[in-house]
């Protein structure tokens, strides 16, 4: 295969990592103390002013778990000046996370434009009124405009704000696929890429298991976009973290009105977990 003549992508990079390496990366975002399952009215700044037009946004979440405790959390990423923030990535599943050095990280990769000079911030809602989640943001840019596809906004599907969760699914046991795919939601606009989210949905997980997740279209005659393409691990410390492999976006044209579904399988007796999908337009 001959060398392509186009310039490489992503020649610019920045993040919000602290000066000294630590067990978790980024900025701690506290849950609102006032009421559970209610978005914070204030935002926590992650990056004061982004240095370039970002074309890929990687959000890695850590440090939001407690033993025998439901830590279901929804995280918004916003841009805009203080008190004038607008949501750019809504309702990321952000609970059930240990420290990065202790199997904590879940990463979300969004091909998404954030203009240079943006103030980037975050806020949460949680079933708890204490605790926090640590948020790492990595921005990549500098690509030729036509070498990578970049979206402008993100729509969350399957979110249940009443419990800071999403759509519950119990995967098949011991390598057997789920009998029936579970609908996560119906798209309201055209999308060109999807990102998968997962977190726990109960106080206690009784076993440590490895899961594979499938994402597709239509519950009755499912067209699979990815089968066994996303692996994660649950631990009895009430954490859900990525195991082997990267969770890259699913690049597929998905029209408005499409029913998105998930299915899965685990290495043992599966337990219920929450799943959401994020459509990029």
């Amino acid at each position: 295969m001959s060398l392509m003549t186009r310039s490489p992508v992503y020649s610019q990079y920045e993040n919000n990592w602290q000066t000294t390496p630590a067990a978790s990366l980024g900025t701690s975002v506290s849950h609102p103390a006032g009421a559970p399952n209610t978005k914070n009215t204030t935002w926590t700044q992650l990056i004061a002013s982004s240095a370039f037009d970002a074309q890929l946004v990687v959000v890695t979440l850590t440090s939001n778990n407690a033993g025998n405790t439901d830590t279901s959390t929804l995280l918004d990423i916003g841009i805009g000046a203080s008190t004038a923030e607008s949501v750019i990535i809504p309702d990321l599943l952000a609970g059930f996370l240990n420290t990065l050095a202790n199997s904590g990280g879940r990463s979300y990769v969004f091909p998404l434009h954030i203009p240079a000079g943006s103030r980037i911030s975050a806020r949460t809602q949680c079933v708890r009124t204490s605790g926090s989640v640590t948020v790492s943001v990595q921005l990549f840019g500098g690509a030729d405009a036509d070498t990578v596809w970049v979206g402008q906004h993100v729509t969350a599907y399957g979110i249940n704000t009443a419990d800071s969760g999403a759509v519950a699914m119990t995967a098949g046991n011991s390598g057997a696929e789920t009998a029936t795919p579970i609908a996560v939601g119906t798209t309201s606009v055209d999308h060109k890429a999807l990102v998968l989210g997962v977190q726990g949905n109960k106080a206690t997980y009784s076993s440590s298991l490895v899961y594979h997740v499938d994402v597709g279209i239509d519950t009755s005659s499912t067209e699979w976009l990815v089968r066994d393409g996303y692996q994660f691990v649950t631990a009895t410390s009430e954490t859900v973290y990525l195991g082997c492999g990267l969770w890259l976006p699913m690049y597929r044209p998905v029209p408005s009105g499409t029913t998105l579904v998930v299915a899965g399988e685990s290495s043992g007796t599966s337990e219920s977990l929450d799943y959401a999908l994020y459509g990029i337009s």
């Binding site: 186009r6 199997s103 203009p115 490895v210």
Partner: protein, 281 residues
């Protein structure tokens, strides 16, 4: 920014993920039993025949560490029929990697690299040990709607490898958040358009810790390509992992004759580790 008219990339995906979820996902590649620090004369098949032209190759390694042991390992990825393999990705640092459910996490390498449809993909190692193995998960992405717009290389050159100890260039980080010295990894012998970073442990560790890695050009007047862009942890169980944070390639135009360097800082203990770089052309 207007929506890019270019359609998304990477609509195709395949991997050697096992049918049933497992902690170490992929195919176990045993170290040669005959002699230490010597490449195996036989290869282990990962994918019998690839289904499409791959343009992004993601490798996730797991399960090579042993507490109390140096597990320095070099892994080759090859293509070609059995007994006619040729090396496609040489000498990946593959030792000191914990299992896929471990605290320190696995190690992932992402190569924008072409592999033709119909290729048989295989792997082999050399190691300081004559026992043990590393589990290799290979994920292939392809199917860009605008192939000419997506840059990917055709071959990989390893820089900094020391075959005598199945390692690379040892880097000592600064301690407590202070930047350390700059270490030369090697001089490029051809032009590269992207670099991939590899790490593994050195000897035995008595203290766990965290570190950031910097990659640049020139030891005396260093031009940094990326600073604090790669986080990893070292455990006293002889594990070196990225904690499930994705390590993306460094996209830069690197001429032949360039001295590539690395620097690092640690959070607490200044644990020494090996660094190699992989230039993509």
């Amino acid at each position: 920014m207007l929506l890019s008219p270019v359609a998304p990339q990477f609509t195709r995906y395949e991997s050697n993920i096992p049918a049933s979820p497992a902690s170490n996902s992929g195919t176990a590649v045993s170290n040669p039993a005959g002699a230490a620090n010597t490449k195996n004369t036989t290869w282990t098949e990962l994918i019998a025949s690839t289904a499409f032209d791959a343009e992004l190759v993601v490798l996730t390694l797991s399960g090579s560490n042993a507490s109390g042991s140096d597990t320095s390992t070099l892994l080759d990825i090859g293509i070609g029929a059995s007994s006619s393999e040729s090396v496609l990705i040489p000498d990946l640092l593959a030792g000191y990697v914990a299992g896929g459910t471990s605290a320190t996490g696995t190690r992932t390498y992402m190569f924008p690299l072409g592999i033709p449809a119909g290729s048989r993909i295989s792997a082999r190692t050399q190691s300081v040990r004559t026992t043990g193995s590393v589990t290799v998960l290979v994920e292939l992405y392809g199917g860009p709607r605008n192939p000419a717009a997506w840059w990917h290389g055709s071959h990989v050159t390893a820089i900094g490898i020391n075959t005598a100890d199945s390692g690379a260039v040892s880097v000592t980080p600064g301690s407590a958040g202070a930047e350390g010295s700059v270490f030369s990894i090697g001089t490029t012998t051809e032009r590269h358009r992207a670099l991939v970073v590899g790490v593994q442990g050195v000897g035995l560790y008595t203290t766990s810790g965290y570190a950031y890695l910097d990659i640049g050009i020139d030891t005396s007047s260093t031009s940094w390509l990326i600073r604090d862009g790669f986080w990893f942890s070292v455990s006293a169980a002889e594990q070196v992992g990225a904690g499930y944070v994705p390590w993306f390639p460094i996209y830069a135009d690197i001429p032949s004759g360039t001295v590539l360097v690395a620097g690092a800082e640690s959070g607490t203990a200044a644990n020494v580790f090996d660094v190699a770089l992989y230039g993509i052309t």
